[in-house]
């Protein structure tokens, strides 16, 4: 009996081992090759009939004639177009419950983290995936002066820790042209932060560290911006407020990005001079922006300003994020620039371009397969890969 039980035990283990290996050998989910599509890598020229080789969720090869390892799973995408997974640099997806479309001005201090408030079970994430959006920077609503910390996260993935690309990295401010004392207050705070830094530098320099200066969390947040550790992202509406912040950048030298900035095109040259990036208003169809503004986005880009689109979800749907680029093309933007505005530009502005934003060897296999020209409104998304995993397949109506 003992021997039989041992045999049975060994046999069972052997089965488990083999099936385990089998699973591994028969092709991991995130290892495969896409063959035959028109691929737009964004940071290099588009390739007809290309092959993309993905191994363990990373892109390991891209080109026209690539030799494929034996036994690799091949996905036929002839006649399709492939673009990188889209990057949305400013959204509120998953932070508010879906039935609260309003942004409540929260008294959030810079020390609060969006990470702690994420709802991962909402159907909203799948909507983003369907739209080809694979990376979002999401966080709470913008308070009047300083907002909470955001998180840069993939829209799909079983393991939350793996989905997170980055925590924070920015300080948010909002100015809406109301109240004359806004700008002087912000300036005064930056001056205080500068002096706070000096105080601490002096303290660090002292041999005898008897009494450290009092800690001030909000000044620390500003100090990080002054030191260049964080980007200052300003939600701005009126053109003259843009000028005010550009001058503040001249004075304090921090890295600056504008969000929304519907009038940025009116002062395009001033912005271009300081090499400040602009995350433009969502120009998607649901928001009725004037024709001048839509044309203005093209003016902005042509003046040399790096532009990115965003959804500010739920203000504009993540599902149609791609159409921001389509509309920009309609109003005169070059196709390559429009594609950059929803891929590599936002990735660079969110400082995650080492991982996402283009189809390059070494980057994450975040890929969107469409059944027609990527910018045409009539084209639809057929497949979306996030970290090499098939997150969405239009042929299978059921979602994962």
């Amino acid at each position: 009996m003992k021997r039989e039980r041992k045999c049975f035990w060994y046999f069972t283990m052997f089965i488990f081992l083999v099936s385990g290996l089998g699973l591994g050998l028969s092709g991991e989910e995130d290892t495969f090759a896409l063959k035959g599509a028109l691929v737009h890598p964004v940071t290099s020229a588009s390739i007809e009939g290309a092959t993309i080789l993905v191994k363990k969720g990373k892109i390991v090869a891209l080109g026209k004639d690539i030799s494929l390892p034996e036994g690799i799973r091949v996905v036929d995408v002839r006649g399709k177009e492939i673009i990188p997974g889209l990057v949305d640099p400013h959204s509120h997806i998953g932070v508010f419950a879906a039935n609260d479309a309003n942004e409540l001005p929260q008294p959030i201090g810079p020390e609060n983290r969006a990470l702690d408030a994420l709802h991962l079970d909402l159907p909203d994430w799948m909507e983003a995936v369907k739209g080809g959006v694979t990376t979002v920077v999401t966080g709470p609503g913008s308070g009047e002066r300083m907002g909470g910390q955001s998180v840069t996260i993939k829209t799909f993935g079983k393991d939350l820790e793996k989905r997170i690309l980055k925590e924070s990295g920015e300080l948010k401010m909002a100015v809406n042209g109301v109240n004359l004392s806004h700008i002087p207050t912000i300036q005064a705070n930056f001056l205080k932060a500068r002096e706070y830094l000096k105080k601490w530098e002096r303290y660090e320099a002292e041999a005898d560290k008897a009494s450290p200066p009092e800690r001030d969390l909000s000044l620390e947040a500003l100090a990080k911006v002054l030191k260049g550790e964080e980007v200052l992202r300003v939600h701005v509406i009126w053109a003259n407020d843009i000028i005010s912040f550009l001058k503040m950048k001249d004075e304090f030298g921090f890295e600056l990005q504008f969000i929304h900035a519907p009038e940025a095109w009116k002062v395009a040259e001033e912005i271009a001079k300081r090499k400040v990036g602009v995350i433009c208003m969502p120009i998607i169809l649901s928001i009725n922006l004037p024709e001048d503004l839509l044309k203005g986005i093209v003016t902005l880009q042509r003046s040399g300003v790096k532009i990115a689109m965003h959804s500010d979800y739920p203000v504009a749907p993540e599902k149609w994020f791609r159409l921001n680029a389509s509309l920009a093309i309609r109003y005169g933007l070059e196709k390559e620039e429009a594609l950059k505005a929803i891929t590599i530009n936002p990735a660079e502005m969110a400082k995650v371009d080492t991982r996402v934003g283009s189809i390059e060897v070494g980057k994450d296999a975040d890929l969107v397969v469409l059944n027609g020209p990527w910018y045409e409104i009539s084209s639809t998304v057929e497949k979306v890969f996030v970290d090499g995993i098939l997150a969405y397949d239009s042929l299978r109506e059921e979602e994962r």
Binding site: G177, L180, H182, I183, P184, A188, W238, N240, L289, D292
Partner: protein, 450 residues
Amino acid sequence: MKNFRRTKLVFNSFLPLSLTLVFFIFCLGREGDRETQLLAIKGGTILTMAGERIEEGVVLIKGKKILAVGKEVEIPEEAAIFDAQGKHVLPGIIDSMTYYGIRPFDLNDMENPVTPENRIIFAYYPFGEFMRGKEGINRDREILSGGVTSVYIAPGDRQVIGGQGAVVKTWAESYDELILREPAALDMTIGDTAKYEMKREAKTPVTRMGISTLIRTNLLQAQEYLRKKKEAEEKEGEEKEKSPLFPRDPRMEALAALLNQEIPARIEADFADDIRTALRIADEFGFKLIIDSGLGAYKLKETLAEKGIPVVLGPPTHPFVQGGEVSMTRELYREMNEYNASELIKAGVLTSLASFGFGFGRFGYATQGRWLLIEAAYLAGFGVPDEEVLKMITINAAQILGVDDRVGSIEAGKDADLIILDGYPLDIKTWVDEVFIDGVNVYSRKGGRK
């Protein structure tokens, strides 16, 4: 450690500095053409506001500046010619008190009666219609139709100390070129408008005494601040290193600029008593003073003349607009005198005429400055000679605002801000035909294209 920090500091400022220099040179290079463009406005009657009236004269413009003006001016071959035959040529009109370009919600900080750190320049919005229009500074046809080329803007009169005003142009090629002088003055109000809002909240100031105390207390604090700052700066070497950092306070810095006579105070005061209060405080703290509105200024004309205090008068056809709750309206009517301007001028007080324009209701574009010539014409009927009244909206305004090195008269070296009228300037039927700012024809009455 010390050396490293210094190096770091130098390096940190050197790099951006040198880059700026390179960029500056690059810009200059680009601007080359613009700087040398020649334009001659010839044939018109030129009222220079610098003493001369030139019949059939020539104004020669090079780039943004006036090169020469006179009867016999040699016009280079390559110059473009603008025919002003039969027309009058004047310097661009200067509105020395208005809220043009300031949206109504930006006028005053209603929470706080004293905000010297606020600077109106952050609220100047010369970009036309919200989210519509073209790139760059907007050419506002409403204000330009009245020939207004420069304005003094400041926070509104609902605060005791509203903040720092600015002198800006109504158009320029770039945002920076719009600014003639900033900060140009510290804006204050001694009168009922500065207190009526606060009455609802029983917050100071509720009375004139409160207003005066607020101003004086803040100025005393500023004096103390200056003293401490001087002390901190005079420390040297180790003592400096060891002592606590002197915290810079923008609020105090603004008041200090006033005390150091870097900028004057613009105090809006109508009753003679309020003007007296202003004079008293100015004497106590030793700052330069300009009276705004000054409906009762004629009662103190000798004192004002003696102390060299200028007065910026409001439009004679509608001297003031007070909010509903202001109780002293009737008394103010009694204070008024149609010959205010003429008495002040005869006594030797430097005066200008301003629109005090503000956005009304939803129609919001404070462009009342466009009627300054008509207001001036009205004033000419009440004892002010024509030449004087025209000076009140040009060179006098420029002098009071401290920008007469740049604008206010047609003289060589000044900015090419000019207007061409189709008749005598003080004739009701006269229209402004053309407006030039920095030598660019920004407005043409016929035509209407930007």
